[in-house]
Every structure is written in C-alpha cells, then in structure tokens.
Assembly symmetry: C2
Homo-oligomer: 232 residues x 2
C-alpha cells in the first residue's frame, strides 16, 4: 500500500538531532517523491538530513498558496503509481498551518495510507511550557488586523480562555504591535504566555499576568517567530 508521509522540519536553524527522531531520516531516505512548499528550502533540509543524499534522483512537486486547487489531484500521481510520497513543510509540522492539509484530505478520500512523523510544533511546545490548561485548548491562527476587529477578537478570546486555552500567531514584524494590542484590550489579571524562537538557543517562553507584562516589554520577540497564548 503506497503511503503519504508527513515530514516535519526544524523550526529555524536548530540541529536536526534536537527536534527530529532518528527514524525520520530512514523514512526520508526511502522516498523519491516530495510535495514541498518551497523547493530550495526542501532541498536544504534534505541535505541537512543526509549530506550524501542524491538530490538529482528526487522529484519535487510544489504546493503553496499559488497552486491551483484543480492541480491538487496531480500531486497524488506518484501514489497512484504505487510510489511513497512525502510532504515537507516550510517549518514545523506539515498540514497544521500550511497547504499540505488539502493533499492529505485527498489522499484520505482515495484511501491511501497517511503516516505522520514526529517533529516540533510551536503550538504544542508553547502550550506545554505555558502552564495553561492542556485538557482544553484551541488554535486560532492569525487574528484580524483592523483595530476594531482585532479588539473584538482579543476580548472574545480572553473570555473563552477561562475554560479553554486560546493560542494564536502573528507575522513576525507585527509581534510587538500584537503585544501592545493584547495589553491594551485584556484585563490586568488575565494571563498571557509569549513564546518566541522555540527550540532555538534563544528560546523565550514566559507566562505572566497582563499587569506584570506591563512592567517588561519583551523586545526580543521583534521580528522573531512567536506564538501567543491566553489562559489560566
């Protein structure tokens, strides 16, 4: 039975051994067909996995926001021909917050085997380290940008966070603006966890009340991959 493997990558420039199990390498070296968000970075990851890998004998198929949904089906051609295929994300785990999910959906519909490999997820790692409720949590992706809508979204998440940890992300260069918005719209006793550069040597994961965050602006998150959590 041909298999679609979901292959996580490092979050930024961390050593492979820090965030990926050794067996991922064995799986990767058996695969010749890869669905990738960006061919250059996928090649770089494969070289990092095994510097002796023969890139020229591998086949890459691009899947990103420019991909026509009608072309999704063509990405499953290797599976139709009984050839194992891998999906490699740009950072972290494929199909969590990237277009890979559409291919997985199609593979499930057609009854192919889908096997997810273990790797780093900033959502899960930040939740573990936040101290917040992990029995009940939600990931919300990006919040709206227009000020009135953002204020409304933050206030709604703050209320929900009493029973369910609320997780969201922001584009790196807007992180400090997001921090200011959270401080402006959430109450003094609400707890906020900020996690940046997860799994890197510069990792920063701190939970404080809004009141305490007002005493210390985390300037290090500026332009860094960062995730925000509201909880109790």
């Amino acid at each position: 039975m041909p298999t679609l493997y979901l292959i996580p990558v490092t979050l930024g420039d961390s050593p492979i051994e820090r965030v990926l199990p050794a067996e991922n390498r064995n799986v990767i070296l058996k695969i010749k067909h890869f669905i990738v968000e960006d061919i250059r970075s996928a090649r770089r990851f494969l070289k990092k996995t095994d510097r002796d890998i023969n890139i020229d004998e591998l086949h890459f198929y691009e899947l990103n926001q420019h991909t026509d949904p009608k072309m999704l089906s063509a990405l499953l051609k290797p599976l139709e021909q009984n050839l194992d295929t891998g999906i490699i994300s740009e950072a972290g785990c494929p199909a969590i917050a990237d277009p890979g999910a559409d291919v997985v959906r199609l593979a499930q519909e057609r009854g192919y085997k889908v096997v997810p490999l273990v790797g780093p997820s900033s959502i899960l790692l930040s939740l573990m380290a936040s101290g917040f409720n992990g029995q009940n949590f939600a990931f919300n992706g990006y919040l709206p940008i227009p000020p009135a809508e953002r204020a409304k979204a933050l206030k709604k998440l703050e209320v929900l966070s009493e029973n369910q940890t609320q997780i969201f992300i922001e584009t790196p260069y807007r992180n400090l603006k997001m921090f200011d918005d959270i401080l402006a719209h959430c109450q003094a006793q609400t707890r906020l966890c900020i996690a940046a550069d997860i799994t890197l040597d510069t990792e920063f994961i701190k939970t404080k009340t809004i009141k305490d965050w007002k005493k210390e602006k985390p300037l290090m998150i500026d332009k860094k991959p960062c995730i925000f959590l509201l909880g109790r």
Copy 2:
C-alpha cells in the same frame, strides 16, 4: 538559571528512535530530579533511554490525581536549590492532558526557565494525518458520558467543526461505544477521522464521512488508545 524540562515519552511500546529526538537523551542524562505520574513507568522509560543509567542516584517525586494541590510547591524544591528538574508524563507530552501543567504554572510564576522537549502528541499527529483544517482547531478532552449530555456535546462539536476542527478522546474500553454515538448523532456528510495506536506498528488513521463509516465499523480501535476528530 535552574530549568524545568518537559520530557515526552513514547506512546505505548514504540522504539525511542521513532518518536524522540536524540538530544532528549542528553538532556535526560544531566537531570537527577524527576516529577513523574508513576514512578515504575518513569523508571522503565529512563532505562529504555539508557540501559546504563544509574536509577539509584535519581530522585523521583510523584504527581498524579492523588497529589494534594498544597504539595505542588514542594515539587519545586530542587529548582529552588538550583537543580534542574524534569517532568515525565505517562504517555506523550507532559502538561498537555496530565497534572504536569500545575507544576509548570507554578514554575512560570516563580520565574524559572521552562524548556519543552519534542515528542509524540496523538493530538497533533492525528490532526496532521486527518486532512482537516489545521489553521483552526480545538482539543476538548473527554466528552460527557450520560447519553443526553453526550448527544448534545456531539451535536455542538459537529456544528463547530465547520470552521474549527474538533478533537476529543475517550477511555479505550469505551471507544466502540463512542463510535456508535458519533454515528447516531452526526449527519451523513459530516467527516470523522479516527486515529488509534498512533506511532505503533498497528497505527490506524482514517478519515471518512459518517455515511461511509456506517459501512465499516473499525473494530481494531476496541481497547486501544484512540482519538476522534470532526472536521471538513
């Protein structure tokens, strides 16, 4: 700065190399103080990590549903004495669906460094392989058991799943009952992913419509660790 490490373990009897990065071992071997859910299974995991590990020089502190919340503070004694401490869960990632989160919360309040290590999470792996929306998802833990409350909970999750993938778990011996309940209360076109024995050789992860699940009862999930997802 003393550090609280969050140490994931295998999900059932899978090889360490399949689900844990090599560097986790290096971190573990530097730590002498462990907060654990069950001492016997933590010892077994540490032996599996390194068969030459000297268990007798390690200190274990139990944290489970029998632990008096007033005793939580005592678990941070080693950190107060500048000694790195690890939290080891029973299965998967600590502090996600176990009592570890309370210790992490306290460590964050007192300003200790908290470092999460990468490991297998059935929530994240099943979401990756489901083909469902990974931009927006929620984990709900266990659903209520009384029939009327369960029906209500399932119908609510079904509605929410149109915009947010809904994930929940069940006690293994009640899995087939949960399957029957989902089929009884959700609509024919709703999509259900069932994932059991994740990361094991017997791994089973399939997404189908309720209509198609009615043609094939997944008997293999009986008494196996299993996770359910509703999505689109």
